[in-house]
């Protein structure tokens, strides 16, 4: 059974009807081929229609869809010979982030990303992709190796945010994130970051300082979750809030790949197959691969000192300012 989101229901109903028809017609002397063709065409149009006007909240739900390709899926689909590295050499190994070296189009690269896990068991083991300080420190350790070995870095972003826990605070969650931001401005090797699903605040940013920021068509990236924002706006607990409030909050926050592109935050939006990445991992991975190829080629041709200058200027220039306050 496929898992459908609420807003996909009209398509789901139609697709189920088609399946039923096919089942009924099996072994019987009736020809319903043209009927089915008609319905299939209708389903496709319906899906295209729904997906052409997704709200930011619907996109948020899509970005979190458990069947979406995750970091480990992309590594399998677009890279070869992945060797995973473990541990921050200080405290432990955080499985909410995976990383290591692999071949991309034959070229060795470092690849690091949040991993949410898919089965319930794996999701718990991976803490739903919410890293502790040791996760960010492991990521930095691998990135520094990449710099030394002269390999480009690809990071894949997919996290609700950094983990809010006692141990995380004891071991310096703030320091770990801050230090990644600081160090990534100094890493003398190309860095490409891709938001593949959910870009949750500081926990996402800690892997996203780079020369390019790409976002999948149905990914989001935000300073606070729509739920968190809604709780602040309406000063209520999440138990009392619902879809309506989340729609308003996600709209106001401007979190979709398309909104962020207009704000000049991401460099490219990577198209997903109709119906979203979860419908076709192969095809999605192909699109990501193509985008990565282009950007890596550009970046590896750029001299490192000018790369670092551009990286600095890119982030130094982000801000919505006016010289003279109106108040």
């Amino acid at each position: 059974m496929r898992y459908y989101l609420d807003f996909e229901k009209p398509v789901a109903d139609l697709e189920n009807k088609i399946e039923e028809l096919k089942h009924l017609a099996r072994g019987k002397d009736v020809d319903i081929t043209s009927e089915i063709k008609k319905l299939e065409k209708k389903a496709l149009t319906l899906r295209a229609d729904i997906f052409s006007k997704l709200t930011p909240w619907q996109k948020t739900l899509l970005s979190r869809h458990s069947e979406r390709p995750h970091t480990s899926d992309y590594i399998k689909l677009i890279m070869e010979d992945f060797i995973e590295l473990h541990g921050d050499r200080k405290f432990s190994d955080d499985s909410a982030i995976i990383g290591g070296f692999a071949r991309f189009q034959g070229m060795p690269v470092a690849v690091i990303g949040h991993e949410k896990g898919r089965s319930t068991k794996e999701r718990i083991e991976r803490n739903f992709g919410q890293a502790n300080p040791e996760g960010y420190r492991k990521a930095l350790r691998i990135m520094k190796l990449a710099e030394r070995f002269g390999k480009p870095i690809i990071t894949l972003i997919d996290t609700p945010g950094a983990y809010p826990g006692i141990g995380a605070e004891e071991r310096g969650q703030s320091e770990a994130i801050a230090n990644n931001l600081f160090e990534m401005f100094r890493l003398s090797t190309p860095i490409i970051s891709v938001v593949i699903g959910e870009g949750g605040s500081g926990g996402a940013l800690a892997l996203s300082i780079g020369d390019r920021l790409l976002m999948m068509e149905h990914s989001v990236y935000s300073v606070i979750s729509p739920e968190g924002c809604a709780a602040i706006l309406w000063k209520k607990d999440n138990a009392e809030l619902g879809q309506k409030e989340y729609e308003t909050a996600s709209e106001a926050l401007k979190i979709t790949a398309q909104d962020l592109y207009e704000l000049g935050i991401n460099d490219e939006i990577i198209t997903e197959p109709l119906g979203g990445a979860h419908n076709d991992h192969q095809e999605t991975a192909k699109m990501l691969k193509k985008a990565l190829e282009t950007h890596i080629a550009e970046l590896t041709e750029t001299p490192l000192d000018s790369l670092l200058k551009k990286r600095y200027n890119k982030f130094r220039g982000i801000g919505a300012l006016q010289e003279q306050a109106a108040y």
Binding site: A162, Y163, P164, G165, I166, A168, E169, E170, R171, G172, Q173, S174, E175, I177, A178, N179, L181, F182, E183, F185, R186, S201, G202, L205, A206, I209, Y221, S222, V223, I224, C229, I232, L233, A252, L253, K254, I255, L260, L263, I265, Y312, F315, R316, I318, G319, A320, L321, Q322, E323, Q324, A325, A326, Y327
Partner: protein, 281 residues
């Protein structure tokens, strides 16, 4: 001594006390005479609780008298998201200005501290919870760049709930911007001293505040990444007694020193000498 103080702070019955003449300590709940509190740098004389102070008060506490020159004082946010909650963000900004008489949650400038030239950035919690949006990020970055160019120390005092939600992703990117500026500044040999005041959280603690070469905190300040309520809801456990206090951070190796407000200026001056002075002939 105790009986005397108690008598002094007892409000005589049937005498109307003018509003604001007395203050209740947030920590020990003692009623303190406001003038006494002000004289004591807004530190509770009973329990050493450090009340929050404004950026202007902080500057006059740290800077040599008359030496502070503000930079970017008119900078304002252009409201990138056209954000509106109960009230439009633009209105919230101008209301915060009316309330605090400062235009943004940070004041930055060059100054002298004990005769040492320093770039200083101070956050003000009274202005939208000291939250970091474009202006706070920009002021910090300008200060860090100027400090780098002149090769003089950079000093910041944080007091903030974190990133400014009303600027969405642009506020998140200020974490990156301030960290970038520090990264460039640290190519020089001048120190970056970060002072954490109550409270320092979220996007501010996870960027410039925790990147100090040397980090001080005021006693009992609350400092952390996630808010205590969020953590409690996530782990469904009671939090330890001194969780996320300056003392907790010191114990876990996250800061260098807890400094009383009355000693802050002198400690900074000593540190500036030790970290910047060239060997004398």
């Amino acid at each position: 001594m105790a009986w005397f103080k108690k008598e002094k702070s007892t409000i005589p019955k049937k005498v109307k006390v003018p509003e604001g003449l007395w203050v209740k300590c947030n920590s020990c709940k003692e009623i303190i005479y406001r003038k006494e509190l002000d004289k004591n740098l807004k530190v509770c004389p009973k329990c050493n609780y450090h009340f929050r102070i404004s950026a202007k008060e902080r500057i006059s506490l740290l800077a040599d008298e008359g030496s502070f020159n503000e930079i970017g004082e008119n900078l304002a946010s252009s409201d990138p998201l056209n954000f509106k909650d109960q009230i439009p963000y633009k209105q919230r900004l101008s209301e915060s200005f009316s309330k605090t008489n400062i235009r943004e949650a940070a004041i930055a400038g060059n100054t002298l501290i004990g005769g040492n030239p320093v770039m200083l950035v101070v956050l003000d919690f009274a202005f939208m919870g000291g939250s970091m949006g474009s202006v706070v990020g920009e002021k910090f970055a300008i200060a860090a760049e100027m400090a780098g160019e002149k090769e003089i120390p950079l000093l910041s005092v944080a007091s903030s709930g974190g990133a400014r939600m009303q600027e969405g992703i642009v506020s998140l990117m200020q974490m990156a911007k301030t960290s970038a500026a520090i990264s460039k500044f640290k190519e020089k040999s001048a120190p970056y001293i970060s002072i954490l005041a109550d409270p320092t959280f979220g996007g501010v603690s996870a960027s410039f505040a925790m990147l100090g070469d040397i980090i001080f905190a005021e006693p009992k300040s609350l400092i952390g990444f996630a808010g205590a309520r969020v953590i409690e809801q996530t782990i469904k456990q009671q939090l330890p007694e001194n969780f996320q206090t300056a003392e907790f951070l010191l114990e876990h190796g996250m800061i260098d020193m807890i400094v009383n407000r009355k000693d802050l200026r002198q400690t900074i001056i000593r540190l500036l000498f030790l970290t910047t002075h060239v060997k004398s002939a």
